[in-house]
């Protein structure tokens, strides 16, 4: 198996507050890897460092065997931030076009990718509306479409399904699984929703800047002798405190 992402002894603090403490993590190619944990656990900081938007105080992060941060590699990473970073004065289409034109794509590819991504998140008919008229869920979906726009090898989604209805959530997850299975993409998802955690191949539980436990959802359930993932979350947290 090839390593897609290798995190080695990464620490990060903001001022005196230690956000991440000596994180080690290997993510293999073609997996869906879930980061679960309470708010403020350091999930977003970790994810941002993988994208190269933040640099670790100590340790290294390698993505596709290249040390991050690396500008060229950003072509291969699709990132969906926790907050919707969209241009509200522009239409959905103009947002997609703008972000698409920041990557190495030719005109035909841009067109294809936009229609693919818009179709995936069920936004095709609303593309010509301005984003400020979008609902919260629609903005989330547009952000996801933008993350997919350059057909990246690695997808990093920071709480992708917040504010999205269960039906659409299911269809997004089915598409994520298809992307993994058919196109061999590596997907990192941070989430609070436990049934989403169960769909991941691997789960790492982040709390107070350290990875408390990790493994397949089945392994974790067996380890804590529970049959419900909510309880894994609670028990793992309790053990530490």
């Amino acid at each position: 198996m090839n390593y897609s992402i290798a995190i080695n002894q990464v620490s990060k603090s903001f001022g005196k507050k230690v956000v991440l403490n000596q994180i080690d993590l290997i993510i293999e190619e073609g997996q869906i890897y879930g980061f679960i944990g309470p708010s403020g656990a350091g999930k977003t900081t970790l994810v941002k460092m993988i994208v190269g938007m933040d640099t670790p105080d100590a340790g290294t992060i390698h993505v596709l065997n290249e040390k991050m941060p690396n500008l060229e590699l950003l072509q291969e990473i699709g990132y969906m931030a926790q907050s919707d970073a969209l241009y509200s004065e522009l239409t959905g289409m103009e947002n997609l076009k703008f972000f698409a034109s920041l990557y190495k794509l030719n005109k035909v590819e841009i067109k294809e990718r936009i229609s693919y991504a818009a179709n995936l998140v069920h936004l095709t008919t609303e593309l010509n509306q301005r984003v400020k008229a979008y609902s919260g869920g629609m903005k989330r979906r547009l952000s996801l479409a933008i993350a997919l726009i350059q057909n990246p090898k690695i997808l990093i989604l920071d709480e992708p399904t917040v504010g999205i209805d269960p039906e659409l959530r299911l269809s997004i997850w089915n598409e994520l699984l298809r992307l993994k299975n058919e196109e061999g993409k590596t997907i990192i998802v941070t989430t609070h929703v436990m049934d989403e955690a169960e769909r991941c191949d691997f789960v790492a539980m982040v709390r107070d800047g350290v990875i408390l436990t990790r493994g397949t959802p089945e392994e974790l359930k067996a380890h804590y002798q529970v049959d419900n993932f909510d309880e894994v979350f609670l028990k793992a947290g309790r053990k530490d405190s």
Binding site: G52, M53, D84, A85, Y87, S101
Partner: protein, 351 residues
């Protein structure tokens, strides 16, 4: 390519924001027009009461556009009741002028005119008692002007400074808030997760907002010259060039300061710090009289150079070579701010 995409997006956003466009293009014109009328207003009618004053002196006073009203007796009470600007009395063969002085500038003007008239009157008596005072007035000192002419109003000297200031102010505000919006909505951070380079973002912002700054500059300059009839001795191209450089400085300073602001409100707080002090050194107040240390502060203000160059071209008709020093200073300011901008973006990504 990425820069072009970013420029296109900035333009799209600006064109959708009609109010900001109006602020950029219409507001400077409104303010300039207001200033024009404020400074070019006719001087108030001066009302002067006279008691026992010579008929010939009275005539001279009237010729000096003073509204003369005769009284048999009058005192300070009369001035207040009749709302006179002043009272001229002959007491014991001596002239005595009492001024209302509720507005010192009016009082000064009246005093000056009365003095002139009195000396003119004395002159006419001394030279030739038979000559009508009108003839003597015509023989008065023939005044020559190096710049401008007798019609020159304060506004004409002020206007080049105002043109430069408005270009600076509005470009500063709009570019600063433009980039700030990108920071607060998280789109700047989002941009940093794409392969775009920091230099490309800064370039795109300079060009994107630069396009609007160019349009604004041209509108303001053409309006001032053609509609407000500002004195324009030099080349209009030089004026546009100076304003473009100034707009570039404003643009880079605005985007730079926006990285130290967390909200639009904090951006507005930079106006009294970064913009207003520049007005003091723009040449509206005479710089020569300032203390040396104050003058050296003026020399670190971009508007100081722009105003100097604009005055030179518009009022004195200087050529490009005469103002090259000022232009160079503006280029240096812009370069420094642009480089600092690229560094300021490091906060978001090292590369």
């Amino acid at each position: 390519m990425r820069t072009v995409a970013l420029i296109k997006r900035i333009c799209q956003e600006m064109l959708r924001d009609k109010r900001t466009l109006a602020l950029l293009f219409v507001a400077p014109l409104i303010i300039l027009t207001l200033m024009y009328f404020l400074f070019n207003g006719n001087t108030v009618d001066l009302k002067l009461g006279v008691v026992n004053v010579d008929n010939s002196l009275e005539k001279i006073l009237e010729e000096a556009n003073i509204n003369v009203i005769q009284y048999d007796t009058a005192d300070k009470e009369t001035i207040v009741v009749e709302d006179l600007d002043g009272l001229l009395e002959v007491k014991n063969e001596k002239l005595e002028l009492t001024l209302q002085n509720s507005d010192p500038s009016i009082a000064k003007a009246l005093q000056m005119k009365v003095n002139q008239s009195v000396s003119l009157h004395a002159q006419s008596k001394f030279l030739n008692p038979n000559t009508a005072p009108v003839a003597i007035q015509k023989k008065n000192i023939d005044t020559q002007y190096v710049y401008g002419n007798s019609e020159t109003a304060f506004f004409d000297v002020l206007s080049p400074v105002l043109v430069g200031f408005f270009v600076f102010f509005f470009v500063f505000l709009i570019s600063g808030i433009g980039l700030l919006k990108e920071r607060t909505t998280g789109t700047l951070e989002r941009l940093m997760s794409t392969p775009i380079r920091r230099g490309e973002i800064v370039t795109a912002y300079l060009v994107g907002f630069g396009i609007f700054a160019v349009i604004q500059t041209v509108i303001v300059v053409l309006y001032s010259i053609n509609v407000l009839d500002m004195v324009m001795v030099g080349s209009v191209w030089n004026v546009i060039l100076i304003n473009l450089l100034l707009a570039l400085v404003a643009l880079s300073l605005g985007t730079l300061l926006s990285s130290f602001a967390a909200s639009e409100f904090q951006m507005v707080q930079f106006i009294p710090i970064a913009v207003i002090p520049q007005v003091f050194f723009a040449g509206i107040f005479p710089l020569e009289g300032m203390a040396d240390w104050l003058q050296s502060i003026g020399k670190i203000m971009p508007i100081y150079y722009a105003a100097d160059a604009l005055k030179g071209v518009m009022y004195k008709g200087l050529h490009l070579t005469d103002i090259s020093g000022d232009l160079f200073a503006l280029v240096v300011f812009a370069t420094i701010f642009i480089i600092l901008n690229i560094f300021a973006l490091k906060k978001y990504r090292r590369l």
